[in-house]
């Protein structure tokens, strides 16, 4: 029995991202993403996903079609869990978690994963294969593939963890909010560490769904550009091992988080970015930092007219017009429920390398914008990054990542 029934109210404390990993259209592992960021090489390509006939660009991860999940978890085999496994296998993440498991105990490490569509592609394909009576194929397993907890269940089984576990599914903010929940769990004493992450894979639902909303670009996405015309959908997996920082200053830490709702519209952001600003403000307050102490903002920056307008108002309203900002979706595409973790890991890479990435594909910043959008990569030491993730339902989350003050 865990003695946690008497817990004093927690105080905010930095959490170290002691290990992290990411897989996306730029390649497998952090080095592939960092290399592409340095070289200005986008992972986007013309849509060649299965039998889709859409005039758009996507961030597809190569090889998912050919590599099944490990045999012991074959029930979980689907594109989304294959992508999760690539992430867990990269960057030495699996062995880092094994060491943490030995240190804390399997039941003291939580697993909290964000996804928007999990393995829905399996259900889409199963519907195509209904028999004459309309029944789905016998081999189709809803629970271990499509169901939104599947990816979290797969992750905890793959890593042999036994702590509290759940999925957060709040569309495109999902895998930013996992950091907030993990922080509360650790502060409440329900666990000592957490594996957080996000996994979303290409599927017909999002490709055709965003197309019918008419917010998918026919060219590679151009965040904050005057000529921007919508999103490029991508797929990605990312994970981080969160532990109490306990004075560590050699790895990036979660310094703050903020969450809010727009209370405005299901699929259009608040026009003045009011909800976004609330989330950013809360993240700054929790980190104890002033706006001027933020060195770089990784924007949600989807390249839709509405998102980028609202985010510009929120960012410039709170931080002014000097702080360098960019969206990295020109590299990875919009990885939806995996965007939060993807961009949190990018923030960690930028902190480690002293790299401020440009808004790739952006040539002329929208003349109506006040925020300072980077058009070229810049090298300079940075200590604190604000990362934004906003989703359908007006769901907002902002993270402050960086090195704690010494």
């Amino acid at each position: 029995m865990i003695s946690n029934s008497k817990i004093s109210p927690p105080t905010t404390q930095p959490l170290a991202l002691s290990h992290y990993t990411v897989v996306n259209a730029l390649g497998r592992g952090s080095a592939a993403t960092l290399g592409a960021l340095r070289n200005g090489k986008s992972g986007l390509r013309r849509c060649d996903f299965m039998d889709t006939e859409l005039d758009t660009w996507i961030g597809r991860v190569d090889g998912l079609e050919d590599e099944a999940v490990v045999a012991r978890l074959h029930d979980f085999d689907c594109r989304n869990n294959r992508l999760a496994m690539l992430g867990l296998a990269a960057d030495g993440f699996e062995s880092a978690v094994a060491a943490a498991r030995a240190r804390y105990g399997a039941h003291r490490i939580a697993v909290i994963i964000g996804t928007s569509t999990s393995g829905i592609l399996e259900t889409e394909l199963a519907y195509r294969r209904r028999d004459a009576d309309g029944r789905l194929p016998a081999t189709f397993n809803y629970r271990t593939t499509h169901e939104n907890y599947s990816v979290t269940d797969f992750t905890r089984r793959y890593l042999a963890l036994q702590g509290p576990a759940f999925t957060i599914s709040t569309a495109c903010s999902s895998s930013a909010k996992v950091f907030a929940s993990a922080s509360r769990m650790i502060a409440s004493g329900l666990c000592d560490a957490a594996v957080v992450g996000g996994v979303d894979s290409l599927c017909m639902t999002t490709l055709y769904g965003f197309s019918s909303l008419e917010i998918v670009s026919t060219a590679p996405c151009r965040p904050a550009d005057a000529e921007r015309s919508g999103i490029s959908i991508g797929e990605a997996a990312g994970f981080a091992l969160l532990e109490k920082a306990d004075g560590r200053n050699d790895v990036p830490c979660l310094l703050g988080y903020g969450e809010s709702s727009d209370a405005y519209h299901m699929s259009t952001p608040h026009p003045e970015g009011a909800g976004a600003r609330l989330a950013m403000t809360a993240a700054l307050q929790r980190s104890g930092l002033e706006p001027a102490q933020i060195d770089y903002v990784n924007l949600h920056g989807t390249a839709t007219r509405a998102n980028d307008n609202a985010e510009d108002l929120a960012v410039s309203g709170l931080l002014g017009s000097a702080t360098p900002c960019s969206s990295t979706k020109g590299w990875t595409g919009h990885t939806l429920g995996a965007a939060g973790i993807t961009e949190a890991v990018i923030a960690c890479l930028c902190l480690g390398e002293g790299l401020l990435p440009a808004s790739l594909n952006t040539t002329t910043v929208d003349p109506g914008f006040s925020m300072n959008v980077l058009l070229e990569n810049r090298s300079q030491p940075i200590r604190r990054v604000l990362s934004n993730s906003f989703g359908f339902g007006g769901n907002n989350a902002s993270l402050v990542l960086g090195y704690p003050a010494t």
Binding site: I2, I7, R130, G134, Y142, T170, R184, M266, F392
Partner: protein, 267 residues
């Protein structure tokens, strides 16, 4: 970890609302075998009400009832919504549309398909700009959502509206995922004990025994096992009972159990 219950609502097969279920548990009043929830979504503005599915209406109905009972203002409340399968009818219609040559996904269906659609509709209807999360953990969704809500109450010092709801899939998915009769449960929870109905002390256990608390009544036990939302039934029974203190155990992942000690504070 102790949190306090300030409002409670439930609807499901056999009972329209919390009063009916409480009377059953407290004084043995009969449940209505004919009753099935017919969600209205009355809190939703008319445009949203037209767009909302039965799953969304079930969620906001039960949420609204709990908030009314709590006496707190909806816009003050952070939100944790949870459901194991989300909007089951919408997911079916989208997969069906994608299996046709046209592959046309209706924009409204698409935004209704996100797992947090009910929470999004709730924030629009209630005006709450507070944090809003939507979680799931298969059959253990209720326990996971209760823990998420409790840690928010304590860490953020904000009252939290918890709503857990499930609806059945239509065929052909129903064959693969049976059960999930419409069931909704909502609680308003707070770190502050003032004006509360009960105290809930949560702790996580690694022991196998005792296992999850079962319902004594066979029909209610079958209902408990029917969906993740209905797995709240033992806790609802404890909240309805007049006992000074009662312990409930909920499954919480394969290896863990969530123990909830319910202490009665007032009426």
């Amino acid at each position: 970890m102790i949190i306090y219950l300030k409002g409670i609502a439930a609807t499901g097969p056999g009972f329209e609302n919390w009063d009916a279920l409480r009377n059953h548990f407290a004084v043995g009043a009969d449940l209505d075998p004919e009753f099935v929830p017919r969600p209205q979504g009355t809190i939703l503005p008319s445009v949203e009400r037209r767009r909302a599915s039965p799953t969304i209406k079930l969620a906001v109905d039960v949420a609204q009832e709990a908030v009314l009972q709590s006496g707190l203002k909806a816009e003050q409340l952070a939100v944790v919504f949870a459901s194991s399968n989300g909007d089951t009818n919408t997911l079916h219609h989208i997969c069906e549309a994608l299996a046709t040559p046209e592959r046309f996904v209706s924009p409204t269906r698409f935004h209704n398909s996100v797992h947090n659609a009910p929470a999004g509709y709730w924030s629009i209807a209630s005006g709450s700009m507070q944090s809003s999360s939507t979680v799931c953990a298969w059959n253990d969704t209720f326990a996971a959502a209760l823990v998420e809500a409790a840690t928010q109450c304590i860490a953020e010092q904000v009252p939290v509206l918890l709503a857990v709801f499930d609806t059945p899939f239509p065929e052909p998915l129903y064959e693969k995922t049976p059960g999930h009769q419409p069931f909704g449960i909502a609680m308003v929870l707070d770190a502050n004990s003032q004006h509360s109905l009960a105290g809930l002390e949560l702790s996580i256990e690694t022991d196998d025994q005792p296992g999850a608390t079962r319902m004594n009544d066979a029909q209610l036990e079958a209902l408990r096992c029917d969906s993740s939302a209905a797995r709240s039934l033992p806790l609802l029974a404890a909240c309805a009972a007049g006992e000074a203190q009662q312990e409930v155990v909920l499954d919480y992942t394969e290896e863990l159990r969530l123990k909830v000690v319910v202490s009665r504070l007032g009426d």
